[in-house]
């Protein structure tokens, strides 16, 4: 690896350095756009006591749900628990620390972490349990809560295509949290469906510039569908 070529050739190499007690920002919404092979690799590595920042925690037996099975996660910041029995069980029984975080606040906290903004004010959660213990403040007659940035040891994200420099684009709603998660980790590991040569992607259409990406790997994806809803065509 020289210059700006971020490509690595094994999932072992992709996640080298991830150790017990570290934190990971993980892209995806439900099972859409999750870095499924990177997550599977974390399961294989057996890394424990992880702090995870992710909108959801997968489902029983897939995505981040795999890491719940083996109790590799100690603490998770997420907006939604529903549809994941093991997640709800571990939370209710106190085996897992869950910091429920409003979806927009979670996205903005990740972006802030990547953008050097240590904290910002938002109306979201004012007057609710989310604001407990946090500073609140009035601007122009409305009340706001101070929310701090998220910074993680690793970013685990999934994009559609990237060039070797890590300039990436996402496919449809598989974008979701991935661009923000990519920016807020010290080491950003991205898996993609296709690696292309620099120059093949339109510079104006890059959604995650390569400056954020440290390691890039091409994978194959199951892309499991959580709720298959169709109409008669």
């Amino acid at each position: 690896m020289a210059g700006f070529d971020k490509v690595v050739h094994s999932y072992e190499e992709a996640l080298a350095g991830l150790t017990d007690g570290m934190s990971m920002a993980v892209g995806g919404f439900g099972l859409c756009g999750i870095p499924e092979n990177l997550i599977a690799q974390v399961k294989k590595m057996g890394t424990r006591d992880l702090t995870v920042f992710s909108n959801n925690c997968g489902v029983d037996g897939f995505g981040l749900g795999l890491l719940l099975q083996d109790k590799q996660i100690s603490r998770i910041y997420a907006s939604y628990v529903g549809e994941n029995k093991e997640f709800e069980r571990q939370m209710l029984e106190g085996e897992l620390e869950v910091i429920l975080t409003p979806q927009g606040t979670l996205a903005e906290k990740m972006r802030a972490g990547g953008a050097g903004i240590p904290a910002f004010y938002t109306a979201t959660g004012y007057g609710t349990p989310i604001a407990e213990g946090k500073e609140t403040r009035e601007f122009n007659g409305r009340h706001y809560v101070l929310e701090e940035a998220i910074n993680a040891d690793f970013s685990l994200v999934k994009a559609w295509k990237a060039d070797r420099y890590g300039n990436a684009i996402y496919r449809h709603t598989a974008q979701n949290f991935n661009p923000m998660a990519a920016t807020c980790g010290k080491i950003c590991v991205m898996e993609v469906e296709e690696i292309v040569e620099p120059g093949e992607l339109d510079p104006a259409q890059i959604q995650t510039p390569g400056i954020y990406v440290n390691r890039l790997i091409q994978g194959t994806f199951e892309k499991r569908i959580e709720k298959r809803t169709v109409r008669q065509g």
């Binding site: 919404f29 439900g30 606040t105 609710t128 449809h172 974008q175 809803t229």
Partner: protein, 219 residues
Amino acid sequence: MSLTREQMAMRVARELEDGYYVNLGIGMPTLVANYVPEGMEVMLQSENGILGMGPYPTEAELDADMINAGKETVTTIAGAAVFSSAASFEMIRGGHVDLTVLGAFEVDVNGDIASWMVPGKLIKGMGGAMDLVAAARNIIVMMTHADKHGNSKLLNSCTLPLTGSGCIHKVLTDLAYLEIENGAFILKERAPGISVEEIIAKTEGKLIVPDHVPEMTFA
């Protein structure tokens, strides 16, 4: 007769205006999309990153990478935009969405809403609901008037952890359409065949009943 889910959706659809950007919550609010009046255009925002959400896909169109905030597979309309979660909540939190429709466990006379947690029993998480209620200028809560045990969901003070504080002004239940003003529910319309007395009986929070409460119409 209390309203069916479809009738509730039809009544909420009357609040739509041409050119509205609308966020419909998971579950019952989704049905509102089926009753957009003829000749009117509204555009659906889904908080996972769609402006211009279309119907469910055909088998041929099905794509794991195209889902809505309810994690259902969907399509986009011509003229849609798809973007990141941060960009989506810029729209929502910046107050650019014209109407938000969402469900609730409880609403009270102060405009407080509880919808994401029953301590010790159920924790769904708030998803995007806290963001939506904190920012939207125009919100309709769509829920049954009472829970399955018959307990009123329109209270003087919410008992469950809040989703938002002082943000709800319109409530459509299976029995009535109400507005919240100055610490009270104002009974604006009743479901066809539902008496004012029944609504009074099933409303725990302070209720103001005008002299005339018209029956609801749907178109």
